[in-house]
């Protein structure tokens, strides 16, 4: 075992544990922010400012009875939350969150702050997000309950519809990354390359983030990202008033906790990918390059705040409105955005 391999394994474990805790932290942030927006106080009793509330919740869920409807398909019922949670964690593997480091000279060569640098990283994220549909669909079907089934069907229709716009937004960023607008034009789909293309500034003031070249792409990406993660105002799979709790109506105890975990981890992943693609990743002023991950965390935190803010500000759409918006507005806009970007890249080089 070389020191580099040990460091890589430690890094992988660190990412896993950090994702678990980010989900816990997001539960607390979500509840406190929701309370603030509604002029309440939220959970404040367990620990300082209620910070231990998520852990109390998890312990409560662990000790609950695991219920399963009598007519449910036992195997698929158990498999569905596992698929959801696995996909949520797997997607983060290709997301870089910092430059290379030698851990203050401890390592012989630089270690990249990323679990795996794949040259088709963007497509891997896309593939895993398309696989995560199965967790929800199977949960809905295997529960053998009408609310669950409707929730599962709705969410799969929604995820398939918004995946197209999501892909188009990814493609337009990739086009920009290969052009002269990027500091270092890339020739692969590696996220690390795309982030490095956003280093530095224009005219010493404006950072070279792709969000300034692709503002529409960023909006499309975030909208589709919210729909992909089934969050309000697109949280149809679990619209309480119509479907009780949607696809996880019949779930209890830890299998419910896994769906819950998957939702928050997915939010973190989408925010991290948006940070890498549009907001310059770990590049930022004031901090030395070795502390770039602080910038990364700050940007992800800002996007997560935006997520929560959206949820408690906007009411849920109607289902037909959601479908019409996805197919008749978002998709055409993203196709036009892609065409204009392609023409621009062709014209300016």
């Amino acid at each position: 075992m070389t020191p580099l391999l040990i460091a890589q394994i430690a890094l992988t474990l660190l990412v896993f544990v950090a994702l678990l805790h980010s989900a816990a932290a997001m539960v607390w942030v979500e509840r406190r922010l929701a309370a603030l927006l509604q002029q309440r106080r939220g959970p404040t009793r367990v620990g300082w400012q209620g910070l231990l509330q998520p852990f109390a919740d998890v312990i409560k869920l662990m000790f609950k009875e695991e219920l399963r409807p009598k007519a449910a398909d036992a195997f698929l019922f158990a498999l569905a939350p596992i698929i959801s949670a696995t996909c949520a964690f797997a997607a983060f593997a290709v997301v870089p969150f910092g430059g290379t480091t030698t851990l203050l000279g401890l390592l012989p060569e630089g270690l990249r702050l990323q679990v795996a640098d794949v040259n088709v990283a963007i497509l891997v994220i896309f593939a895993i997000s398309s696989m995560s549909v199965y967790g929800i669909v199977l949960a809905g079907w295997s529960s053998n309950s009408k609310y669950s089934l409707l929730g599962g069907l709705r969410s799969s229709a929604q995820m398939i519809s918004y995946e197209l716009s999501y892909g188009m937004a990814l493609a337009s960023v990739l086009l920009v990354a290969t052009s002269a607008a990027s500091a270092v034009p890339v020739d692969s789909m590696s996220l690390t390359g795309i982030v490095d293309g956003q280093a530095g500034t224009w005219a010493y003031v404006v950072p070279r983030w792709f969000v300034f070249i692709q503002p529409i792409g960023f909006l499309i990406f975030m909208t589709a990202g919210i729909a992909e993660t089934n969050r309000a105002p697109f949280d149809f799979p679990e619209a309480e008033q119509e479907l009780v709790a949607g696809y996880h109506t019949e779930y209890s105890s830890m299998s419910f906790a896994m769906f819950f975990l998957a939702e928050y981890v997915n939010m973190v992943t989408v925010s991290a990918v948006a940070t890498d693609l549009f907001l310059g990743g770990w590049h930022g002023p004031f901090l030395p390059a070795s502390l770039g991950w602080i910038w990364f965390l700050l940007k992800v935190a800002a996007l997560l705040f935006f997520y929560v803010w959206m949820r408690w500000t906007l009411p849920r759409y109607r289902y037909d409105q959601l479908m019409r918006f996805g197919w008749k507005i978002l998709l055409p806009v993203s196709v036009i955005n892609l065409l204009v970007t392609a023409a621009g890249v062709l014209y300016f080089g």
Partner: protein, 168 residues
């Protein structure tokens, strides 16, 4: 070592697809088999093909399969022939299946006989996404465009079939 793992998963899952009576499990096993194939592509150093295999087959097409199976809610396959008759003596569909199997085995033999010659597909041409893109839009532009027209025809056909009731 990894090859045998993925290959075993692919073969066993594919066999179970046709051995299953519950269509939902058949769909899931087919997804597992596609996943194993994708693993094989990674071992062949073609990550792009591997990921596309997951996105297109496991992610998009199989979701639609699952959708149809779920909506039709057919829990068990109904068979209208006697289980005890020999497969080759069963009606129409079975003979067609036998014919297809023979064709598949012949193709396999042909492929294995020509395996030593990599032809125009050198290693560097499958690894790089840019190289694949260039090839698609230059050498294989005709096949690419014809495929797109074919898919468009299928789409128009689906719309026409779906609107049949309204037009009467």
């Amino acid at each position: 070592m990894m090859f045998y793992l993925f290959a075993a998963v692919a073969v066993v899952a594919s066999l179970l697809v046709i051995a299953q009576r519950n269509p939902i499990y058949s769909v899931l096993l087919l997804i597992a088999s596609f996943g194993a194939l994708s693993g094989l592509y990674v071992l062949l150093e073609a990550p792009f093909v591997a990921v596309i295999q997951i996105i297109v087959y496991a992610g998009a097409i199989m979701v639609l399969f699952l959708f149809v199976v779920m909506l039709l809610n057919a829990p068990h396959e109904e068979t209208d022939f006697d289980e005890r008759t020999h497969p080759l003596l069963r009606p129409g569909a079975m003979r067609l299946g036998g014919l297809l199997a023979v064709a598949l085995v012949m193709e396999l033999v042909w492929a294995l006989a020509n395996a030593a010659d990599p032809g125009r597909f050198g290693v560097e041409r499958v690894i790089s996404v840019a190289a694949i893109g260039k090839m698609l839009f230059t050498e294989y532009a005709f096949a690419f465009e014809v495929t797109s027209v074919l898919i468009l025809v299928a789409m128009v056909g689906a719309v026409v079939l779906a609107r049949k009731e309204e037009m009467r």
